[in-house]
Symmetry: C2
Subunit: 515 residues, 2 copies
């Protein structure tokens, strides 16, 4: 049990948590975004990050400070907090990035952790090896062994109240990520960065990123705070949080601003290509793109960095609110439409529905069916698993449209795509209270058929009649042959529906407040 | 030709236009949002709507002013602009809403138009009948006849430079909407409100709203500025603009604020249910929901109204930027995920792909395939129509994966789901430069098969070989029997792909700038 991390609320595998950072004397609410502060170039002053943007924690690089004589001195003398002017928690990186970039660095894990401790770091980092994607398995394993040694070294450093990161590597081998997660979790270290995912994100390989995170999460305990290291684009916060990531760090807000790049939750725009600002932040309400283009470089950078921070912190609030409301997947569904590779990421995530299902709350506010992908959500799988355990006896009518007047049936179950059948007793329970579109797609029908098949397999001696509203052939092909099919209005008059039992699903005014 | 409305840019059936309002001496850029100002209750002062939110035009109700003795006097004396303190354009409604609500009103079209003219209205409105949804066809036709009479009456009023609205009614009968659009367009009136859609939006019937607008648009000329009357929720701006709406009006910003309701592009939230503000605007950055809950009612209303305006105007800027960038449908794709009924609206819109295709630009920046619905976009239909006109002779290889080394084929065409086949000469043209996900869905395959079928039908004497990467049965069933199927790597060695010709579609770094 990690007693410095407490989970307060959850949705899918995402959670709102509290990371207690004893050395800083602060509790950081997660998911959290750590703005990267380059001690050499301050774009937005750390105290403003705190007061205006709500940053509770930031990250800077202890190796840069270690290497620079002046900063080294100043940090040792004043401490990091005073040097940067920041009261919140400060995480420091170790130089691993420089190691990966330049092949070698001048410090060991022991030395840099000691230095981090000495300058007042609240969460320190050992020197791991960020193995890039697509290397040979041999290289990934060798480098992982070095990272694992670094974790053991880190355990042996006396770091007092400072928390210490235990990076999880493994390149693009999900099983190595899982092993790395397990090894890291078995240490007494505190925070778990999933490392070396930046090359995946730079190449828009969100599906591979999802697989890497899923692997790491399988190895880590549920109570492990997970940092998606180097991930700072608001476009993927919802997806990454839904996979179970708790911390993000953004250098992008400043680096992009320097380059006239403008972050949105739908991707990145270049200032030169904008005629209108697609944002409601203070910067975008006060200026037009043409006006900002006329500012000098320094002012332009500051204004764009502030926008980039506003949009990033707002997205994080949106993600947190979605967790509270139990509709994080609905937010992921939207973000998945921002780019075809984000759709790949979401589709990859749904391939892990089993894994997600184990953490997803059993009951939430609402289930919105908003795409073909919705048919593969963990809640649908969970309902199908339940169908394998439900008893249905005698002759049972499964119907999309009504309750028969006749006594030919021993029971009548409602059928709603994508869930399939369920007994009346469950009809007011999540997710069967779902809002579904009137225009049903083939994936929803196919999943409903799968649900029928699961129920039939669990009740081989029961006689089932399925009254459906014209399912496509692909769905009907998945319904077992033993089921009698009847078109919805083909029931004999005394069996015809006398009311629409699926009225909840049809009544758009129901169940979601007002739009 | 409507010479007071000029279209500057377009995407799908949406457009950026300039509405010249001669009496106000201003040009309003469309799509535009008209905040509704209730002359009795000013929530946000009109001069602030202009200076802080960028409103170029607002709407108020001349009937309310007409009925209230004091306001009546003041408006006649000072004029509307001075009375409200607004320099932009002012549209006034006529009392039709009150007529629909209370059964009768005390003015005729002639009287109220004269009054509107007298108080300095820039765009006036006759007394039409807003026929609600789902009435009998008889009622819809009778009331439409009355509305049409009101338009004729309006034509006969001397209104100088004042523009006049020509409302388009017809209830939920798309053919009546079309007829009403045609009749309105034939008058010499100026702006075309599609009326009585509010009940549809209140009931989340976005599909019926789409059908009503599509009907009206079929009747109206392309140069007609179209106002979606009563529509002010930012959630549906993108969808409505893509259908060809130019003007929106929002009473919601103020009415909802009074009721502690908080607008987002994903729906409406109640202040009581928010723990975090999912927004980057100045209000949401400065306050938490808990802090606003502690304000007094008046201040709370003002703050929420300001947020509601920020989010609405930002969405409109986002829509305009999307038109400029040629990715409005990509924005609609995202908004379609905010609620199952919005998905119905989007699916309904794609049922009008033929109609939309006639206005959609032939070439744009990029096509992102981001959902099963993307397979039904107008651009896919247009490509299929083109396939019916393309010549292919001899023996032609249609391949997803490569160019054969052998000379067995007279030509090799690339095949990309959802488009289907195309000759090399078109491979760098829109939409065939599309970004598509690696994880292809059945709808994309089915559409690609449809494309093959169209090409084959146009070239009955040509021998086609289709080398595919494992299409699902449903797609293969749509490929004509005359086509020889080969799995992608089943070609004999000298025909095997020596390069991946679809590398553009796979290279996520290509064609969309940086994310």
């Amino acid at each position: 049990m990690r007693d410095h991390f407490e989970i307060r609320d959850g949705d899918v595998a995402g959670r709102i948590g509290e990371l207690t950072v004893p050395r800083a004397g602060v509790t950081v609410e997660t998911p959290a975004l750590l703005p990267v502060v380059n001690p050499n170039i301050i774009t937005v002053a750390p105290d403003r990050l705190e007061s205006e943007f709500g940053a509770q924690i930031l990250i800077t690089n202890s190796y840069i400070i270690h290497k620079n004589e002046d900063l080294h001195e100043e940090a040792l003398e004043k401490g990091l907090h005073e040097m940067l002017g920041f009261d919140g928690a400060i995480m420091t990186d170790s130089g691993s990035f420089q190691l990966a970039e330049y092949g070698e660095i001048e410090v060991t894990t022991e030395e840099i952790l000691q230095f981090q401790y000495d300058i007042g770091t609240d969460i320190g980092t050992p020197v791991d090896i960020p193995t890039p994607p697509d290397v040979s398995r041999e290289q990934a394993e060798e480098e992982l062994a070095v990272t694992e040694r670094a974790l053991r070294d880190a355990e042996n450093v006396e770091t007092g109240e400072m928390l210490v990161n235990a990076p999880v590597q493994g390149s693009t081998y999900p099983d190595l990520r899982e092993r790395a997660g397990r090894t890291a979790y078995e240490t007494d270290l505190d925070v778990f960065p999933v490392g070396a995912v930046v090359p995946l994100m730079n190449a828009y390989r969100y599906d591979d990123m999802v697989d890497a995170v899923a692997g790491a999460k399988r190895g880590l305990g549920r109570d492990a705070p997970v940092h998606l290291f180097g991930a700072g684009h608001p476009m993927m916060f919802a997806l990454a949080v839904a996979m179970g990531c708790d911390l993000f760090d953004s250098a992008a807000y400043a680096l992009y601003a320097r380059d006239d790049r403008y972050l949105t939750v739908r991707g990145t725009e270049h200032l030169d290509e904008l005629e209108y600002f697609p944002c409601s932040c203070a910067v975008c309400s006060a200026y037009s793109p043409a006006e900002i283009r006329q500012e000098n470089a320094r002012e332009r950078e500051r204004l764009l960095a502030e926008h980039n921070l506003h949009v990033s912190f707002a997205e994080l609030r949106r993600v947190k609110q979605a967790i509270r409301s139990g509709n994080l997947l609905e937010l992921v569904e939207e973000r998945a439409r921002s780019h075809p590779t984000m759709l790949d990421g979401y589709r990859a995530m749904l391939d892990h529905a089993d894994q997600l299902e184990r953490e997803d709350p059993v009951s939430k506010g609402s289930f919105f069916y908003v795409s073909n992908e919705s048919a593969s959500r963990p809640e649908v799988q969970r309902h199908h698993d339940r169908l394998s355990r439900l008893d249905a006896e005698g002759t049972v009518l499964l119907t999309q449209g009504g309750t028969p007047k006749s006594d030919r049936f021993d029971a009548t179950w409602r059928v709603v795509p994508p869930f399939g059948p369920f007994p009346r007793a469950l009809s007011e329970t999540y997710p069967l209270t779902a809002e579904v579109p009137d225009r049903t797609d083939d994936d929803a029908y196919a999943m409903a058929a799968e649900g029928v098949a699961r129920l039939v397999a669990a009740n081989p001696d029961t006689e089932f009649v399925l009254a459906h509203d014209g399912w496509p052939e692909t769905a009907l092909a998945r319904v077992p042959d033993s089921v009698t099919l009847e078109p919805l209005h083909g029931l004999s008059p005394d069996e015809a529906p006398d009311e629409r039992v699926d009225s909840e699903a049809d009544d758009a005014d129901d169940g979601h407040g007002d739009v």
